[in-house]
């Protein structure tokens, strides 16, 4: 048995869902209400999450366990607000710190993850016991070479080289088609979740 507050929340969610879906008919005030509510609720949620992170990740460890080094990120965080003051240049220091940290953390493993690891994965046998695997391996290796060739702009794409780049272009087209289809699947799934909510939680069917 659902609590009254839960019933109220389900009704609120159902009304907002139907309001959002009403845009399929045409733009209307119900849709605008749902749209603005989503934006407002999202912004409020981010503020609360951000506040929680500052409290649990910086202030509490500083006060409770005396990790004095945490004063540095707190000061850098405060400097971000410099952009709203007469000294906007103050915000450049935390931004520089963020960019530097982000790049440093990413680059230390990006070369292995996205370059060396991928090249290693392309060293595949062309002769295997399973004919399907052989065909797969051939498509992967030759397809990758063809696609990479397409991005060689130092040489005119004609003659035998042009044929290879043409194959690369076709493979990319197939990829784009696949990518488009997967995006369609995502929106079907998102819609399914809402339909399931309306049918089962709101209307109580099934």
């Amino acid at each position: 048995m659902m609590e009254p507050i839960e019933i109220a929340l389900v009704w609120a969610a159902a009304i907002l869902t139907l309001s959002a879906l009403s845009f399929l008919f045409k733009d209307n005030p119900f849709f605008k209400f749902a749209e603005h509510t989503a934006v407002g609720a999202g912004a409020a949620h981010w503020v609360v999450m951000g506040y929680g992170m500052i409290r649990d990740g910086a202030v509490k460890p500083l006060v409770q366990t005396g990790q004095l080094w945490l004063i540095i990120p707190i000061i850098l965080g405060i400097l971000m607000f410099g952009t709203y003051t007469k000294w906007p240049w103050l915000s450049r220091y935390p931004v520089a710190f963020l960019v530097g940290c982000g790049l440093g953390v990413a680059i230390r493993s990006a070369i292995e993850a996205q370059f060396i690891g991928q090249i290693r994965a392309l060293v595949l046998p062309f002769v295997t016991a399973d004919p399907l695997k052989t065909i797969n391996n051939l498509i992967i290796v030759l397809g990758t070479i063809a696609v990479i060739s397409y991005f060689i702009f130092a040489r005119e794409q004609k003659g035998p080289f042009g044929k290879v780049t043409e194959v690369g272009r076709i493979i990319m087209m197939v990829y784009f088609g696949g990518a488009f289809t997967t995006i369609m699947f995502i929106y079907i799934s998102v819609m399914l979740e809402r339909i399931a909510f309306l049918l089962f939680q709101w209307l109580g069917l099934g």
Binding site: T182, F185, I188, I195
Partner: protein, 282 residues
């Protein structure tokens, strides 16, 4: 003008169909399989088998970090996989640390935990599993967390770390046996590969949206990801393996139905286009 309209043949008129009628048909196609399940067959793919097997083969007492970074905007796509995986994790003798690197991740994790009900599966909070909520900083946040799993002062409920028994045993990446990343952002998949697999050589599983899979496949081929779940379809395959029917199977039915309708619309649209071109040519 009217005369010109009358000259249109059936296919040309179908091409000019009001988009709202298409929406209505699509919604009906989505509703019907929910009310009357079709039971479409599910073919289990190799990455899903490996995903399930990796979890199944974990020795008792292993520590699993579950990164629930699923945005509510795309809840439907990864939520079934999240529920199924949480259920399998919670039904085994594992230690589970749950964390989110997306602001709205805690909402979806909370919803999944409400469905799975770890206590009903014999899991005790603090001893068998712990939930940290949101950690800011994306890749930098993930790197910091891997280095020090006790970086926050308290868990999502406000319990201090020192009062959580599980966190006395689990300190950093060295204590982690498996990482499972639930996300909807391609970047998040790459962060996990870089920060867990490459930096600390930790086994990684990914459950993500279908649109991210073409890129995740490259990490799977490179053995940087041991297995993955491909959105709702992956969840349905996973349910076929575990034998627990859930949202994945229900969604899979409806997806199959609406895909057939989409193909029909595409065929009609193209035939109409051919019809229009021929008319213009004449």
């Amino acid at each position: 003008m009217m005369k010109q309209k009358d000259e249109k043949n059936m296919w040309q008129r179908l091409g000019d169909i009001d988009v709202r009628i298409i929406w209505a048909i699509a919604i009906v196609c989505l509703i019907v399989p929910f009310l009357s399940p079709l039971g479409t067959p599910v073919i289990v793919t190799e990455p899903t088998k490996r995903f399930a097997k990796t979890i199944e083969d974990l020795p008792n007492g292993s520590v699993v970090v579950a990164q629930g970074s699923v945005s509510v905007a795309f809840l439907g796509e990864v939520f079934p996989a999240m529920i199924d995986t949480f259920r399998q994790l919670m039904s085994k003798d594992l230690k589970i640390v749950i964390v989110s690197f997306a602001e709205d991740g805690p909402i979806t994790v909370g919803k999944a935990l409400d469905v799975v009900k770890p206590e009903a599966l014999g899991k005790k909070y603090g001893r068998d599993w712990v939930w940290f909520g949101y950690i800011a900083g994306l890749e930098v946040g993930m790197a910091s967390f891997a280095k020090d799993l006790r970086m926050l002062a308290n868990d999502f409920h406000g319990t201090p770390i020192k009062d959580i028994p599980l966190m006395q045993e689990v300190k950093n990446y060295e204590d982690v046996d498996l990482v499972i990343d639930f996300n909807v952002f391609l970047d998040m998949c790459e962060y996990s590969v870089r920060q867990w697999t490459v930096t600390y050589k930790k086994p990684l599983l990914i459950a993500t949206m279908s649109s991210n899979i073409p890129v995740v496949i490259s990490y799977y081929q490179a053995k940087q990801v041991l297995g993955y779940l491909n959105g709702v379809r992956g969840a349905a395959e996973y349910e076929a393996i575990t034998g627990v029917k859930g949202l994945g199977m229900s969604y899979s039915d409806a997806t199959a139905f609406v895909v057939l309708a989409t193909i029909a619309f595409m065929v009609i649209g193209n035939i109409s286009l051919i019809g229009k071109s021929e008319r213009r040519f004449k």
